[in-house]
């Protein structure tokens, strides 16, 4: 033991069990997936070549990216407005708003997804009401298309977009905004020149969080898309359990992994990723 301590700092012994667990149950399977993607069914890059050759695959990836970008855009936009309202509301109202936000956060995704069907489906509350009142003669197709998927996903992602922004906005020194007003800036000028730049870390954090989570979305597109909006996660499921092409599934999983990692890398070129996730900037 004594000789070992010369070479290894004692702190490592404390974390060693957890390192082993992470290596065995987390890194191991990931490596296994990477391995599968280049060995199944035959060794080589055949699975990846399909990205060039299969139009269907490219379309699925494009759909996924498009849906994710639109979802992120709207989630972060709405999230920014909600977080701003929360930060500047009176304390009682802020707690109420935070409560409502967390309640929707805690409700199962299945319940939330199906309640959108009840609300906006062909025979949902909204369409029935509008038809009865006579504003529309045909039901509006909110659901079972990409619009439905987007509505469901933006709704689900809102808390994830709000929380990083809320934390960011709460740390802002309001005297800085007062200083801007005092120097003659209008409310809009103060927002564009001071408030928005100072909330960039929160914006980046919530954008990354929402986008990365959206990439792996499965339930909402499957239910609200009505089979017309096929995204990567659902396709992986089909490859795994229906067509049993594990190599293709592993390739897509690996693709998403590298996509997320390269996204983080690009971000890290512009700013310290640790500050985005709450670390100190110095």
């Amino acid at each position: 033991m004594k000789t070992l301590r010369k070479y290894v700092k004692p702190g490592w012994f404390l974390v060693a069990p957890f390192l082993v667990i992470i290596a065995a149950f987390y890194l191991g399977p990931i490596l296994n997936i990477l391995w599968l993607s280049v060995t199944d069914p035959t060794p080589g890059f055949g699975n990846y070549r399909a990205l060039y050759e299969s139009d269907a695959l490219v379309r699925i990836i494009w759909t996924t990216v498009r849906v994710c970008i639109i979802t992120t855009l709207f989630s972060v936009l709405f999230g920014y407005v909600i977080a701003y309202a929360m930060v500047h509301a009176h304390e009682n109202k802020r707690n109420l708003m935070l409560g409502l936000l967390l309640v929707s956060f805690w409700i199962s995704i299945l319940v939330r997804t199906f309640s959108w069907l009840m609300l906006l489906g062909r025979n949902g509350l909204v369409n029935n009401t509008l038809e009865t009142v006579g504003i529309i003669s045909e039901p509006i197709a909110f659901m079972r298309n990409e619009l439905g998927v987007l509505i469901g996903m933006v709704h689900y992602m809102l808390p994830y977009a709000v929380l990083p922004l809320l934390v960011n906005m709460q740390t802002l020194d309001m005297r800085v905004m007062n200083a801007s007003r005092n120097l003659g800036a209008s409310g809009a000028q103060t927002f564009w020149h001071i408030y928005l730049p100072l909330t960039t870390p929160g914006l980046v954090a919530s954008t990354l969080l929402v986008f990365i989570l959206s990439l792996g979305f499965y339930v909402t597109p499957a239910v609200l898309g009505g089979g017309k909006v096929l995204m990567v996660a659902e396709y992986i499921y089909v490859q795994l359990l229906v067509t049993l092409q594990w190599g293709t599934a592993a390739m897509l999983a690996a693709l998403m992994l590298f996509g997320v990692l390269s996204l983080l890398y690009v971000m890290s070129r512009f700013m310290k990723v640790s500050t985005v996730f709450g670390g100190t900037s110095s």
Binding site: R175, A179, S180, R181, N182, L183, G184, H193, L198
Partner: protein
């Protein structure tokens, strides 16, 4: 800095009050502030001095009363239209902008041409001696440098009135004295009205043309530093500004500054003793000694003795006689 209009900078505060719920933070304040004056609002925390400043700046609504500039009410003018410079507590610099951008902000939101902004920022950088730091961010500056950036930013648009909210609070003592001199110097050069909030009485005494002493939201006394120190009207003023002994004499309460009392060993020849007592403690402060004397059972008198005068050293427990001139004690108008 010739762009300050000659008539600007006269402020008239009339019956100004501010309530927060049931709490009256500022209570019927009346003040006439002259153009070019260095006026200090001095008081303990909670005395309403910052609230008063925030109302002048336009960040707080007025409950009742009025603020006039050059005879016109400014109570309804929003903060961004008031054109008052302000140095905030903690400076409130824009952390994502360079020093140059911070100082040029007021002009750039006014959409002034870039060349004019550049020239003005250079002028301000020179005023506060920060020419070499123009491209740094506030986070890369020391506290004293940040304070100067805040000052330059507040003065960049040549405001008629500059409001300063405890601007030296975050600096260490030595630096504070240095910056006091710089501030005073800048004030004398540009002729802007300065309204300065502080709880530090030394700062107030050394910099101000006039001091407003505030207590519980009210103005306790207004005057030049000399007037306030030599002729305090109340016990509060006498004890808040410097130190004071209080003597309950036949015609009322008197304040007596510790440095105006002569002390000598009991029985030594001289003027007749006004009080006699026993030395309880002696504390050495370098240039002076603070001597506490027990007079009778309940009264203690504090005497400051210049160290160089202390030729026959006092010792604790020694019996002493105290004398002072008639002019040294001041009768207080209020308790």
């Amino acid at each position: 800095m010739s762009d300050v209009q000659p008539s600007d900078g006269n402020l008239n505060i009339r019956d100004l009050s501010k309530n927060f719920g049931n709490f009256r933070a500022v209570d019927t304040v009346n003040l006439a502030i002259k153009k070019g004056e260095f006026l200090t609002l001095l008081g303990p925390s909670g005395s309403g001095k910052t609230t008063l400043l925030m109302m002048i700046a336009g960040f707080l609504d007025i409950t009742s009363g009025d603020i006039e500039m050059n005879g016109k009410s400014i109570a309804d003018i929003p903060a961004e239209k008031r054109n008052f410079g302000m140095v905030f507590q903690g400076y409130a610099l824009f952390p994502h902008m360079t020093v140059r951008e911070n100082i040029g902000y007021a002009l750039s939101v006014r959409k002034r041409p870039a060349t004019e902004i550049r020239a003005r920022v250079d002028e301000m950088l020179e005023l506060v001696q920060l020419q070499d730091f123009a491209d740094r961010k506030p986070g890369q500056l020391s506290g004293g440098q940040q304070q100067r950036v805040a000052l330059a930013r507040a003065l960049s648009f040549a405001p008629p009135v500059l409001l300063l909210d405890e601007p030296l609070g975050a600096l260490d003592k030595k630096l504070r004295v240095e910056v006091q001199d710089q501030l005073k110097d800048i004030h004398d050069r540009i002729g802007t009205t300065f309204i300065y909030v502080t709880h530090d009485q030394e700062e107030a005494l050394s910099m101000s043309d006039r001091i407003v002493i505030m207590r519980d939201g009210r103005v306790e006394q207004v005057g030049t530093p000399l007037e306030l120190y030599e002729r305090p009207e109340s016990k509060f003023v006498a004890s808040f500004l410097g130190k004071s002994n209080f003597l309950d004499l036949s015609d009322g309460l008197h304040a007596l500054r510790p440095e105006k009392i002569d002390i000598r060993a009991a029985g030594t020849a001289g003027d007749p003793a006004r009080l006699s007592g026993k030395v309880r403690s002696i504390t050495y402060f370098g240039s002076m000694l603070r001597v506490i004397i027990d007079v009778g059972d309940t009264t203690e008198i504090e005497v400051d003795v210049d160290s160089w005068r202390n030729t026959a050293p006092l010792s604790e427990g020694q019996k002493v006689d105290l004398t002072w001139s008639d002019a040294a004690s001041v009768k207080l108008a209020r308790g």
